[in-house]
Symmetry: C2
Subunit: 390 residues, 2 copies
């Protein structure tokens, strides 16, 4: 396998879009192409993550339509459907095909437009990510699943729910603090207070509105190239050094959703490929679709021991200057969550962190960064570890 790098990245502002998801991908892709100093005709394949474009806009076969939109007709164009982890799988597959010499340059990313739907409908559409036969009939949707996770976490570690809720509120506060100064974030310019978080409406006890990510539109794209090619294009190629992927079935087939074996398997695969351990990671974008999800993920990735994640939040370990700054983009919570694009937007942030281009959100001395993306009821989990390639 040869070395592979990201030459350039692009993303739309997340939030509400007046353009289609094909057009959003194209906008992000043209930015990534321009940032990569590459001629579009050098691109050999297009990989696009998208979850439910058919329901949202009546648009399936997303990758071919995206390729055509930016003038790349005829190219192999593959769409990956893995709910919220779709974009990450597109990038991982681009990495593999380039790494193994089948292509030199692949455009990869994701797109999703969910604000065309009402909140109840969007909740149901995202609910397609649970097991249709065993779970949908129970009425389970994602707020309910993650509410159960919070209750189980509190019980398992024998802590009062109020204590966990304070840690969850702090996760939300941190997300909005950094998201408010990220111009690409859905909640850019909107810092929130702890009071506002605590006063927000209940969604699924104990999750309140500020424990839940928003419904979003957006696209993100990256140019994946062999290191040889990337070095000719940019002074700051970001090398992909480890990837991992794991899966789970129905939630009801999982023993303990405060530990997610698919995440532990997948991240261990990524660490092994990279030859690194959790303590080597300098900055991480992880899947905080709900505040409790960030706490559980921070443990699953090995940054903290099981049951220590909520304490880590209270200690400030996951904030700027802490042991492992998490979601300095604002995360899914405050940056927004156009599900097919989310994994690619996480990579966008890590690339910019490694390049030192995040301004007031910049973590000092970042040499290695990681993304964690989860789709469905923990059904599809994937990881990417990157480092400076210069």
């Amino acid at each position: 396998m040869r070395e592979v790098a990201i030459a350039g990245v692009g993303m739309t502002k997340f939030g509400v879009s007046e353009i289609t998801q094909v057009e959003m991908f194209a906008e992000a892709a043209m930015d990534a192409i321009a940032a990569s100093n590459i001629k579009p005709e050098a691109i050999q394949a297009v990989y696009v993550g998208n979850a439910d474009g058919n329901v949202e806009e009546g648009q399936a076969v997303m990758a071919p339509m995206c390729a055509s939109e930016i003038g790349l007709k005829g190219l192999p164009a593959t769409s990956f459907q893995a709910a919220c982890s779709s974009g990450t799988l597109a990038i991982i597959n681009a990495f593999v095909w380039v790494s193994l010499g089948l292509y030199d340059v692949v455009l990869a990313g994701g797109t999703e437009r969910q604000r065309t739907m009402s909140t109840p409908l969007a909740t149901r559409v995202m609910g397609f990510g649970v097991h249709a036969k065993y779970e949908t009939p129970t009425g389970l949707s994602f707020p309910g699943i993650f509410a159960m996770m919070a209750h189980l976490y509190a019980r398992k570690y024998n802590l009062p729910l109020s204590e966990l809720k304070e840690a969850m509120a702090r996760v939300s506060f941190k997300a909005h603090k950094w998201g408010s100064i990220n111009p690409k974030a859905q909640f850019f310019g909107k810092e929130v207070t702890m009071e506002k978080i605590y006063a927000s409406d209940m969604v699924a006890s104990p999750l309140q509105v500020y424990d839940c990510c928003p419904i979003s539109d957006g696209g993100a794209a990256v140019v994946v190239a062999s290191m040889d090619v990337a070095r000719k294009l940019t002074d700051k190629p970001v090398q992909i050094i480890g990837v991992g992927q794991g899966s789970s079935g129905a939630v009801c087939s999982q023993k303990d959703i405060t530990r997610i074996p698919a995440r532990e398997l997948s991240s261990q695969r990524a660490y092994k490929m990279a030859g690194l351990k959790p303590s080597d990671i300098d900055v991480c974008e992880l899947h905080d679709c709900f505040t409790i999800a960030e706490i559980v993920a921070s443990e699953g990735l090995g940054f903290f021991k099981p049951g220590d994640g909520y304490k880590a939040v209270m200690r400030g370990d996951t904030d700027m200057g802490g042991k492992i700054p998490i979601n300095m983009s604002g995360g899914i919570k405050a940056k927004g969550h156009p599900v097919g694009a989310t994994g690619a937007a996480q990579v966008y942030e890590i690339v910019n962190q490694l390049r030192g281009e995040c301004g007031a959100r910049q973590v000092e001395g970042v040499k290695v960064g990681m993304t964690d993306t989860m789709g469905g009821s923990f059904a599809s989990i994937a990881h990417i570890i990157m480092r400076r390639g210069w």
Copy 2:
């Protein structure tokens, strides 16, 4: 790249299913696993093609749910969304990952359940494969697109529509003749006459009911392994020697839909990888979603010159004993078209043809076979060439 083979194949009977698409994939997969003499724990990844499971059954993240259903929890499980070519992309990606040594054994295939929908709804859902912004508003659905193709073909080659319609009717007759003796086919046991074909209802002029494939449920799966592994499992490993993939955008961006550049590009890529030319192919399963589609595909694959495809049908070149027997399974027309499974079912047939296991449908002396699958409004086209590996 190392040699890769298919060790075993499985598929459900196509038609109407009382079980879910996850369960249909599992049924096909268990047959493929048994036929491969492999222990399930040797499987390292699961790749599943599925087009619209979210709309059809409320089920997204198909691959993880399928992996879990057959007890393969935790494995990397990737879903490919490419409308009717989804299953082919799953197998092509399995081939690449195994070929390059990342995995030794991958379970790949596809599944779809569309009979849960009424015909008008299914037509709309399949219509998600056209360009949502430029085409959907015109009312275009697939019967309309392929009706245009027929009119354009007749005009381009200056032949009376009645002459083309006779060739199209013969395509349908051939499909049903062979499909009627394929126990896996939706129309098994139901041979039709030319009179019945001509008398069938008009769908979109000049396409009548017997020019159109049915709406179907079904699943199909194959075990893709390194040749070293496959040789230990079976005496008759079927080697994958060439793959190709191409894409198009909206129909309105295509100059002439009687020639499809994405097909020509993709099949040329596959021929080049295999080191073969069209005349080397002994049997072919190609994308006959409508009878005119078979004629156009037989030209695009290089079996006949442009404009000679309809004459080839009249000469019997595409039937048993002809120059290139096409769709001896009954094809999409008579075998059925559960879109995510179609590409894998084509591979199922070619593997059995190469092994000489097709009984009365067996083409004599088959050494090389090929599949052609098309998704959306020619948006995603993919090819696989296989030969005997023994």
